[in-house]
Chain length 119, copies 2
Amino acid sequence: MKLRKHYTCPLELAHDLIKGKWKTIIIFQLRHGKRSFSELMREIKGITQKMLLEHLRELREVGLIDKKSYPGYPLKVDYFLTPRGEKMLEAVNILQDIGISYLTEQEFSGFAVEKRTED
Amino acid sequence: MKLRKHYTCPLELAHDLIKGKWKTIIIFQLRHGKRSFSELMREIKGITQKMLLEHLRELREVGLIDKKSYPGYPLKVDYFLTPRGEKMLEAVNILQDIGISYLTEQEFSGFAVEKRTED
DNA sequence: CCGTATCCGATCCGATACTG
DNA sequence: CAGTATCGGATCGGATACGG
């Protein structure tokens, strides 16, 4: 996700910052501080190596996260939120709350599982 | 954007709610109350009729907005945020602030225009 | 004024294999 | 452990035309 040259609207830019299936989840996982690549792989269910690396790189390119590499073997890299990322975390936390409310409340858990009557 | 049957993570669901190029912008445009379809078309630069209708329908299906149709000609329909939409607006407002900060600050306005030296 | 349908290129994302 | 490359199906979104 390269940012475009021009944006006519701040929200278009901001939405591009978190575009992609995993970006908000990555930001949320970094809420308590740094995480290595392998920790993120373990904590984020269902993500592939390719997707995680790609989204990490993009988040870095737009300045929401940064990383620190430690020399030597085994390789070790820590990813962490920048101040901009911390600000984005505020929005992500709200999204998290909204997601929980949808998963919790009857009205939409019924809808979210498409009237499953079995199990 | 139909919601899936199951989500392993609230953020995956929440991100789906605002997935798509225009959803956050539509929510933001409804921040001060109801808007007719044609008002939204006028206010949201660059959007096509198809995209606006499609995103309005999807936002409605997931319960972030609702609409009220008035009988008679010319047709008139008002769209407005539901309580869930108002909650989502809190996140969108933060995104808006972040977008503004990116467009404003030197570091990223330079980056956002990809080192353009002409014009 | 509001809503639907279709076509088609662009992008996204998962699987998989390979490198330092 | 961390990162790169490629391929192919699925989805997204713009243009355009048509309908109530």
